[in-house]
């Protein structure tokens, strides 16, 4: 299997590929030529940062497996695996600053984790006890998952326009200037909303990064059906820079996103990053990829596993085995804890049906709420 069958233009495999990468699949530091302008962003990384990148990728992988198990055991309505996409997500998440806002799609569990979300809140939504799950303003401005593909790209653009209008960006103070990063995928890139968001972002030069995880598959449809050109090239058509990165390289993801977000905060406008990665698991637990995917293709990508790659790199740097073992243990504990707490999730009161439909009084909703209470009360002991 060659990369050509994965990417119709062969960009990914070509020696002249513009794809930005830092690490080889084997975990050696050999930056691509196109990586030159992004290398300074790696220099600021500390040993602690490297360890954090690794730890988060391992932890979320384990959590992901546990959540899929919960679904199979009937404890979740659905699970949306992120297996294989950890580097794209962890690298880009660490490139944000606390004051930034993050608009996820629905597979960015570790991005939420890094922004301060308790990922059990994601399980609450997938367990059917809430339509949302958390308050973005209390969890690192990590906004709610959006299940209609690409809808959030427009919300993100509007939000970024708001940052411009209220003067919270491009003041020349990187410590407080704000920007937005929005996650979407190769499937969502075909939605009209994704294009409209790019149009609006370019028109108003909103401070934001479009982070497109091309995981090669939109459920059962390959990216070749979504686009005959590499998706990052679309950015140019909208009038903004586009960069393709090796999405399984956490350092490439970090460095390129860092620069793009810095540019956005500094008033240099929006940009698009296409992270080439792979959805190793199913689209959701309702999916069966063996019906449409070539096992050789899966093997090709498993050999490029982002965690194995980064571990090799860290080992090359001389990281102690003790740390790697401790991370495995932490991940197991994390997943077990998430499982335990997921099983303790309780459902909401039935009043949640009515509570937040409107901010202001609404006669019909009030009437129906009162009716339901009377109706339910009629079954209670002592009632007729």
């Amino acid at each position: 299997m060659t990369a050509q069958t994965i990417d119709p233009t062969g960009q990914y495999n070509a020696a002249t590929s513009p794809t930005v990468s830092m690490l080889t699949p084997a975990g050696r530091m050999e930056p691509s030529e196109s990586a030159a302008e992004f290398l300074p962003y790696l220099e600021a990384l500390t040993e602690e940062d490297y360890r954090r990148f690794y730890r988060d990728m391992v932890v979320v992988r384990k959590f992901d497996t546990e959540a899929a198990n919960l679904q199979r055991q009937g404890q979740l309505a659905l699970w949306v695996p992120s297996h294989g996409q950890e580097a794209a997500q962890v690298g880009s998440a660490y490139a944000t600053r606390p004051q930034d806002h993050v608009f996820p799609s629905y597979r960015e569990h570790v991005v939420g984790m890094i922004r301060g979300l308790d990922v059990v809140d994601v399980l609450r939504m997938l367990r059917g006890v809430t339509l949302g799950g958390w308050k973005p303003e209390e969890h690192g401005n990590f906004h709610l998952y959006t299940l209609v593909l690409a809808s959030q790209t427009l919300h993100a653009t509007g939000y970024a326009m708001g940052m411009q209008l209220d003067g919270s960006t491009a003041t020349g103070t990187p410590e407080t200037d704000q920007a937005v990063i929005v996650y979407y995928g190769d499937g969502a890139s075909s939605q009209g909303d994704a294009s409209e968001a790019l149009v609006f972002a370019a028109s108003y030069q909103s401070p934001q990064v479009f982070f497109l995880q091309n995981n090669q598959w939109a459920i059962s449809v390959p990216v070749s059906r979504q686009s005959r050109t590499p998706l990052y090239l679309r950015a140019g058509g909208f009038g903004m820079p586009g960069t393709q990165i090796d999405g399984n390289d956490v350092l490439a993801s970090y460095a390129v996103t860092r620069k793009s977000m810095d540019d956005a905060r500094a008033g240099r406008g929006p940009s698009l990053i296409e992270a080439l990665t792979y959805r190793v698991g199913a689209h959701t637990t309702a999916d069966d990829p063996t019906k449409y995917r070539d096992p050789d293709e899966l093997a090709y990508w498993v050999a490029r596993d982002p965690i194995v790659r980064f571990r090799s790199y860290l080992q090359g740097r001389g990281i102690e085995q003790q740390f790697l073992d401790a991370v495995d243990e932490e991940a197991a504990d994390f997943a077990a804890d998430a499982r335990r707490r997921a099983l303790e999730i309780t459902g909401p009161q039935r009043s949640v049906i009515f509570d937040n439909v409107y901010a202001e009084p609404h006669a019909l909703v009030a009437e129906q709420r009162a009716w339901l209470e009377r109706y339910e009360a009629s079954f209670e002991e002592g009632s007729h």
Binding site: G132, H143, H155, T157, G158, G162, E196, N356, E360
Partner: protein
């Protein structure tokens, strides 16, 4: 028989605005403009978005002069994409703004329909009450202007059917003036249907008057024999019908719904208890419509008061026809009277 046309309400004596109220005569376009301008003066977070709303002032000139007064950071001429307008308005509302979006024509709202129904209407509920969605979507709607396809439609039922939205439609310049301000002040999304055939007739507007609740229907003509409800441009048709009926000795009570979601039933039920007859009228197709909903609710809540089935007068269940035959499609005063006669024939 007494027929009394009820005038727009006088300024509320307790309102601090009352003393400032100045009576002017304006077409609805200018009244809407004055309402938006006042809202922009009152709250710096109010901003306008839409296609051609800047230097042109919108295709109907409703926003004329506002970009000159408030600048292009308060009045945003947008790219030509309705989903983009609504979707970014949602993001702006999350950021604390109060966007007022203009959809150029009724039939052009559908590219933004997904963002309105799947996102805007549910955003607060999805956030478990953690945010508000103060977005107004202005939609010029309805027929009587002899225009081409997609320019004469009445799609209000789609929005009234969607939980999370509020849907209103003024019938006259004064209501347009204060309802616009209240819609902008609302912390919920409001779909604001502007009856474009009523854009140009002038009426008295009490500037500085804050009106009643956004969701109160109103008896605009008192009568005793039959109750007729309508909204937007239909109200003037109903008032014409009432004049014709009066000449024949029939006393029609006319109710301007003003709000299509929620619907204020109290004046309707009170009226039906008095008249025993109800005709609901609208330009929109009748099947699964606002009129159908009123008919069903009044049948439930005022069954013993009714002396006749509730009758619907509406556009036909067809696409809006070529303008050359629109007068046969749109409910006219005579079509209203035909239904009134049928209703009265039951008693």
């Amino acid at each position: 028989m007494t027929d009394t046309t009820v005038r727009p309400p006088a300024p509320t004596p307790t309102s601090p605005d009352a003393q400032a109220a100045a009576s002017v005569t304006l077409p609805m376009t200018k009244a809407l403009n004055a309402g938006m301008r006042q809202a922009m003066l009152d709250d710096p977070k109010v901003l306008l978005m839409g296609e051609d709303i800047g230097p042109l002032g919108g295709v109907f000139r409703v926003t004329e002069g506002l970009i000159a007064e408030f600048g292009d950071k308060r009045v945003l001429d947008t790219p030509l994409a309705e989903s983009g307008i609504i979707g970014t308005a949602i993001g702006l509302a999350m950021r604390g703004f109060r966007p007022v979006c203009e959809i150029q024509f009724d039939g052009f709202v559908f590219p933004g329909f997904d963002q309105i129904t799947s996102q805007l209407a549910r955003m607060r509920n999805r956030h478990e009450g953690g945010l508000i969605m103060p977005v107004v979507i202005r939609i010029p709607y309805g027929g009587h202007i002899g225009s081409i396809e997609h320019h004469q439609e009445s799609p209000e039922a789609y929005f009234a059917h969607t939980p999370g939205l509020r849907v209103v439609s003024p019938s006259n310049p004064h209501d347009a003036y204060w309802m616009m301000q209240q819609a902008i002040r609302s912390d919920d999304p409001v779909i604001f249907f502007e009856p474009k055939s009523r854009y140009w007739p002038k009426g008295e507007v009490l500037l500085g008057e804050s009106g009643t609740s956004l969701h109160e229907s109103k008896v605009v003509r008192v009568g005793t024999d039959v109750t007729v409800t309508g909204h937007g441009a239909m109200v003037s048709v109903l008032l014409q019908a009432a004049d014709l009926a009066a000449a024949e000795g029939i006393s029609m009570e006319v109710i301007d719904l003003r709000s299509l979601s929620p619907i204020d039933y109290d004046p309707i039920l009170e009226s039906v208890q008095k008249t025993g007859h109800l005709v609901v009228a609208q330009e929109a197709a009748g099947f699964v419509s606002v009129g159908s909903e009123i008919a069903a609710t009044v049948a439930e809540k005022a069954f013993y008061s009714l002396e006749a089935p509730v009758l619907r007068v509406s556009g036909f269940d067809t696409p809006f026809p070529p303008a050359a035959v629109e007068t046969h499609f749109l409910p006219s005063p005579d079509r209203v009277l035909e239904a009134v006669d049928r209703s009265l024939a039951y008693s």
